[in-house]
């Protein structure tokens, strides 16, 4: 037995050596909230990335080299994000897919910029991320100024003459989005909000906020923030008998929102890019996810697409060096599960299409 296992060990060693000799693996980093309050988004990213890498490797990888993922858990904490970024640098990754939260992506991008590492975020929507003239920052999702515009226009047209309150959670994403929506409401539509408040993310008690909203007799609550707080606010509002319409952004695209809010979440609105699960080009991938018993909601397919973009650009450039890949990224259009993806000079996608969704019975769909 002992001899046998030794022999086996030697055999695998030879195979392993042969493999590394023939082709070094390309490492990419997946950095996001794998644990913590927003772990469900981390799972979306992880699922998307694992499927994308598996599909690519099954087709032979990039230029004959296989891909492997280095996971980094930033818990959506800006400080943690920087240390995760440094770890990715140490691992000598060719590209970083991430991070999820804007508050993490922005500080981490400084590290990647210094080291010349490509960063494609599947989900960070704060405009600042691509506004600083960095060459290495790209994203496959939209921006909060676009999202805020859609939300602002929607509120102005559907809730004319109603009282609107704007609430945010003080994070880069939440405050950024709330302010973009407020700007649109104040500027274009000349609607002044009756209340503008900030809460602390991670707390559980929002009863004082809810009573305040109720006292102001608001009809519409616009919230910039993530789903754990959104779910709690909706739930506590309904418990106190406040039936104002709750509207938020793309951080509600997770079924966990429903498991927190429960039936109170019915009628909650949110803005999000056109649902990629409905794309004809994504059907094959979506079916594969469904066969695993997983619904590729929210940012799952965006993460998948971010890796597709990197792989196609690297294949085209015949290199994984940042300078070569970047040139291709800015000039070509890529075929991804999101449809045709192309980037502008800043690194934003050219055609984001924010839509308004409504939560109903544990699922969300376009509002009619």
């Amino acid at each position: 037995m002992r001899k046998f296992s030794l022999g086996l060990l030697a055999a695998t060693a030879v195979v392993a050596l042969g493999a590394t000799g023939a082709m070094a693996q390309i490492k990419i980093a997946l950095n996001g909230p794998l644990t913590g309050q927003l772990a469900s988004f981390g799972e979306q990213m992880k699922r998307g990335a694992e499927m994308a890498v598996k599909d690519l490797n099954d087709k032979g990888g990039i230029n004959g080299q296989k891909l492997s993922i280095v996971f980094g858990d930033d818990q959506c904490d800006p400080k943690q994000a920087v240390s995760v970024a440094n770890n990715a640098v140490k691992e000598k990754v060719a590209a970083v897919i991430g991070h999820f939260c804007s508050g993490s992506s922005i500080p981490a991008s400084d590290v990647y910029k210094e080291e010349g590492i490509l960063q494609i975020s599947p989900a960070s929507t704060n405009p600042t991320f691509t506004e600083r003239g960095y060459k290495n920052t790209f994203r496959v999702c939209g921006r909060d100024d676009q999202q805020g515009q859609v939300a602002g226009d929607f509120i102005a047209s559907r809730y004319k003459g109603k009282k609107v309150a704007v609430v945010h959670d003080k994070t880069a994403y939440g405050k950024g989005l709330a302010d973009e929506t407020k700007k649109r409401l104040n500027g274009t539509h000349n609607i002044q909000e009756v209340l503008y408040e900030a809460i602390t993310a991670g707390e559980k008690d929002y009863s004082a906020l809810v009573s305040k909203l109720k006292q102001a007799a608001v009809d519409v609550i616009y919230f910039g923030g993530y789903h754990p707080e959104a779910g709690l606010i909706v739930r506590q509002a309904r418990e106190q008998g406040l039936n104002a319409r709750f509207i938020s952004g793309d951080a509600l695209v997770d079924k966990q929102f429903w498991s927190i809010a429960g039936a109170s979440g019915t009628g909650t609105l949110m803005t999000f890019d056109a649902d990629p699960r409905k794309n004809a080009v994504a059907k094959e991938v979506v079916d594969k996810f469904k066969a695993q018993g997983y619904d590729p909601e929210g940012y799952t397919l965006y993460t998948y697409a971010a890796i597709q973009v990197f792989a196609q650009a690297a294949t085209e450039a015949k290199s994984v060096k940042f300078a070569d890949v970047e040139k291709v990224l800015r000039s070509k259009t890529f075929k991804t599960v999101l449809g045709d993806t192309a980037f502008d000079a800043k690194g934003d996608v050219k055609s984001p299409a924010y839509k308004v969704y409504e939560w109903k019975a544990g699922a969300y769909d376009y509002v009619n």
């Binding site: 644990t35 408040e197 991670g202 707390e203 008690d205 418990e239 927190i260």
Partner: protein, 304 residues
């Protein structure tokens, strides 16, 4: 007036929960003279045991709400108390008599260890639970603003007052309470007079943990969402409550908890919610400048 009443109810509910956790800090400080930083995590464990017991009871088919709540409270208090006892046994007792900072460091280590332990065995995701007790009692209404007190808020406030009374009685009237007061005054002398100091300290941790478990179960039912990280923020607020009320004083902890809950609610109500924590800690600073031992704390007598 209606708005004021509603915020008063909100503040009292929140304050009750802070108070229940704060008692654990204050009792341990009174007797052992150390801050048990792992106490916030004990509360978090109480909440987790609560949510697990709720789902087990659901599976067994016990759905009569008062019985279910009672069973959950008992189970959670028991298992959380076991955790509290174990923490003391593992992390603090071996360091008793060592230099002052040793148990403090060990407490911080314990807090991190407990957090990671729950994260690993229960997963890092948040755990939601649908409301067990629903319903409101409308108290008054004016200008379209209805003041509601929910059944759960009543349960939380009443339970807190009842537990507070029971624990005050235990400390004032029973043999255990007498040993606790003896240990508080002079541990060496108490042991010379036949008080089992180790056992008394263990029981203090058990009592603190049981109260934290009640707070944990209440929070689970009231907010319906818990995660492995809730102990940190709640622990910080409860610790502040204990210091504000005068650390070492049982009524002080309750008073401190209520005050912090009320300050948070009323600051949010009439000023900016963004700055409510600034208000709480600002008031703490002012109180400590004028009353260094807190509102109801006794000044420490230098023993010679």
């Amino acid at each position: 007036m209606e708005y004021f009443t509603q915020q008063l109810i909100n503040g009292l509910t929140l304050g009750s929960i802070y108070g229940l956790i704060a008692i654990g800090y204050t009792m341990v400080y009174g007797i052992v003279g150390m801050i048990n930083f792992a106490h916030g995590e004990i509360y978090m464990i109480g909440a987790f045991i609560g949510i697990i017991t709720f789902s087990l009871l659901g599976a067994v088919g016990i759905t009569w709400v008062p019985l279910a709540i009672l069973l959950v409270l008992i189970v959670s208090m028991f298992f959380t108390a076991v955790h509290g006892w174990a923490v003391e046994r593992i992390a603090y007792r071996p360091l008793r008599g060592s230099f002052r900072l040793a148990p403090l460091i060990s407490a911080i280590g314990m807090s991190i260890a407990l957090q990671n332990y729950v994260q690993i065995i229960q997963g890092a995701k948040i755990k939601p639970m649908q409301p067990v007790v629903r319903g409101n009692i409308p108290l008054m209404e004016a200008n379209g603003f209805q003041v509601n007190i929910s059944y759960l808020q009543i349960i939380i406030i009443v339970l807190t007052i009842a537990l507070m009374a029971i624990f005050s009685l235990i400390i004032a009237r029973t043999a255990l309470g007498r040993s606790q007061r003896a240990c508080e005054q002079d541990r060496t002398m108490a042991s010379l007079l036949g008080v089992n100091v180790d056992r008394t300290i263990s029981l203090t941790f058990v009592m603190g943990a049981a109260l934290a478990a009640v707070a944990g179960v209440m929070v689970t039912m009231y907010y319906g969402v818990i995660d492995f990280f809730i102990g940190f923020l709640a622990g910080l607020k409860a610790f502040t409550a204990a210091v504000l009320g005068g650390i070492g004083s049982l009524p002080g902890a309750m008073l401190g908890g209520m005050l912090i809950g009320l300050i948070e609610a009323f600051w949010s109500a009439y000023f900016s919610i963004e700055y409510k924590d600034v208000a709480v800690f600002g008031i703490l600073v002012v109180v400590l400048i004028f009353l260094p031992t807190g509102l109801l704390g006794k000044p420490e007598v230098e023993k010679v």
